[in-house]
């Protein structure tokens, strides 16, 4: 090879380098064909969490209301704002409160970040609960999704605990007495109650040790556990064949088959012609085997790229818009610094524990430990207790009247207790009217 030719090769390699780097990173151009769309989903790490094709029923906004996605996005907002806040926060009884004032006064965007973190945390508790209600009322915890419901309940408990541990960190009167009251409720657990409280606080009262422990739980232990469980939760959605859908959602009608606009492979179409009406498998089922593609069998799915991605983007924008809006207009509360000698009257736990506190005012053990423990146990075992196979994938299915009524009672009773504890309890925990 001549020198000139080598030089030319080298120069053209340099010229092609940006394109080569780009294609090595992204592997595909923006897809315009079905093959390209599936390739994009398969070869991109962040997209391969999504299925290549998604059922049309999954994309109906009023079926999921995007509650699971909103929970995830709030969690991500919490991680980002939380990490930023960590740069300025010190978990020390002598410094924490001053750092709160600094966030408010001197740190750029400090107030906004704290507001976002605070309201996202409250929002996440509420939205995760609503997501649980959605899954229940659509009967989506039934086979094969039983265990994913259990993972979801664990995630709900971890969300509560993460929010609770974060509540102490500002080290103001609100934080101190809420945690004093909250951990006192934990102390009512039989046999181990006092020990659990001691382990949690690292001391007999809320102090420096408790602040440090809550901080470590809040910024390290709980987020890692939650990330792990969220990964399992999502992975199982895929392996369980996507979101639940009604029995008739897989029947391909003339029009929907036409909408897929495909030319069926004659060989495959011939073999599947009898099974189209009762087709029960999704694309995930096919990926498990040796083949990722069995031909263009008409079905009720659309490509995730761009259909699902756009839906997710829409929910994300809605979530962050909501958080920004609330954070712009409402400041996170900050009361006076901790004064151990002067508990506020009444001392209230965080709002999501006020139902418990209301029950504790009737019976310490049953309200604080007994009933909540029974509730959590029943929640965890719901998919194994409810043997009814019907009514999957539909809101308030008639076949599930009993289950839905029971769950609705549970939800309404808890919400009423929280409302009473929040608005109707004044000095000395006496009944007051908020109006």
């Amino acid at each position: 090879m001549s020198d000139a030719k080598q030089k030319k090769n080298f120069l053209s390699a340099i010229k092609e380098m940006p394109a080569a780097v780009w294609s090595s990173v992204f592997r595909n151009r923006l897809p315009h064909t079905d093959l390209g769309r599936s390739r994009t989903s398969f070869t991109n790490f962040f997209l391969h969490i999504q299925p290549v094709k998604v059922h049309k029923h999954t994309l109906k906004p009023w079926f999921t209301m995007g509650l699971g996605l909103i929970s995830l996005f709030l969690f991500l907002i919490l991680i980002v704002t939380g990490v930023l806040l960590m740069f300025y926060y010190v978990p020390s009884t002598t410094q924490a409160y001053d750092r709160m004032l600094d966030l408010r006064g001197t740190v750029a965007f400090g107030t906004m970040l704290r507001n976002m973190h605070r309201w996202s945390a409250h929002g996440m508790v509420a939205v995760v609960f609503l997501h649980m209600c959605r899954v229940f009322f659509t009967g989506s915890y039934k086979k094969p999704r039983e265990f994913n419901w259990v993972v979801g309940v664990l995630l709900f408990l971890l969300t509560l605990f993460a929010s609770f541990t974060g509540y102490l960190l500002p080290w103001d009167q609100l934080a101190f007495w809420a945690i004093t009251v909250g951990t006192a409720i934990a102390g009512y657990a039989p046999v181990f109650g006092e020990q659990i409280r001691f382990l949690l606080l690292g001391d007999t009262t809320v102090g420096q040790e408790a602040l440090l422990r809550f901080y470590v739980l809040h910024v390290a232990v709980l987020p890692v556990l939650m990330t792990l469980l969220i990964a399992v939760h999502f992975w199982r959605i895929r392996k369980d064949g996507g979101l639940s859908r009604p029995e008739d959602a897989d029947i391909v009608t003339e029009t929907s088959a036409n909408l897929t606009n495909l030319q069926p492979n004659p060989a495959v179409a011939a073999s599947s012609i009898n099974t189209i009406e009762i087709k029960r498998y999704g694309i995930q089922g096919l990926v498990r085997g040796h083949f990722t593609k069995v031909g263009n069998v008409p079905d009720n799915t659309v490509f995730s790229y761009p259909n699902l991605l756009l839906a997710e983007l829409f929910v994300f924008i809605l979530t962050i818009f909501g958080v920004l809006l609330v954070s712009y207009f409402f400041n996170a509360p900050l009361e006076e610094p901790v004064n151990i000698l002067h508990p506020p009257n009444p001392s209230k736990a965080p709002w999501y524990f006020l139902g418990l506190q209301e029950m504790v005012s009737y019976s310490a053990f049953w309200g604080g430990v007994g009933i909540p423990a029974i509730e959590v146990l029943i929640l965890l075992f719901v998919p194994y207790l409810d043997r009814n196979k019907k009514g999957v994938g539909r809101w308030f299915a008639k076949e599930r009247l009993l289950a839905n009524t029971l769950f609705m009672t549970f939800v309404v009773v808890n919400i009423i207790l929280i409302i009473i504890g929040t608005f109707f309890r004044g000095q000395n925990w006496e009944f007051v009217s908020p109006f």
């Binding site: 007999t204 151990i340 000698l341 508990p343 506190q357 504790v360 005012s361």
Partner: protein
């Protein structure tokens, strides 16, 4: 089917359990045991042996500093010192309901958080508190000062004779 696959322990057949199976069983038990020990030692680790807060045992001065009829609250220690004639007692100021600090009132103790009320000896007279305020051990240290030990609860009504 190979020779090895045939070696299984069917109930009643008297066939020996294979060596492989015993080793597998021992290994799993070993791993399970190690796991339990690990979890347990983590609990031992996070349970503090020394706390960095206030000491549970402290001196409060000589008995002469507390004339008969004293009902004095040590707010930061969360304990009240009572003296009636020649007997003394230390009663907890931590509300047994949800851990707030109770105040010393005319009639006994009152909790500002949720309205629990206690009589002069700490017995519940009203409100949500489930049990009486505990009494702590009072003793006389060698230097003549009174010593309160909050880690030792005593039966209510057991006064310390000065």
């Amino acid at each position: 089917m190979s020779e090895k696959d045939k070696t299984h322990n069917v109930e009643g057949t008297g066939e020996p359990i294979s060596r492989r199976k015993i080793l597998a069983w021992l290994t799993s038990m070993g791993l399970l045991g190690s796991g339990i020990v690990t979890i347990f030692s983590n609990f031992v680790f996070i349970k503090p042996r020394a706390t960095y807060g206030q000491p549970s045992r402290f001196n409060i001065g000589t008995p002469e500093e507390y004339p008969p009829g004293t009902r004095m609250a040590f707010g930061d220690r969360k304990v009240a010192i009572i003296r009636e004639a020649d007997k003394m007692a230390a009663i907890s100021l931590t509300c047994t309901h949800l851990g707030c600090t109770v105040g010393v009132a005319e009639t006994g103790f009152a909790c500002p958080c949720h309205g629990s009320r206690f009589d002069q000896d700490g017995n519940v007279t009203g409100g949500p508190a489930p049990k009486a305020l505990p009494w702590y051990e009072v003793s006389l240290a060698p230097n003549g000062e009174l010593e309160i030990d909050k880690s030792k609860e005593i039966t209510p009504g057991k006064w310390f004779k000065v």
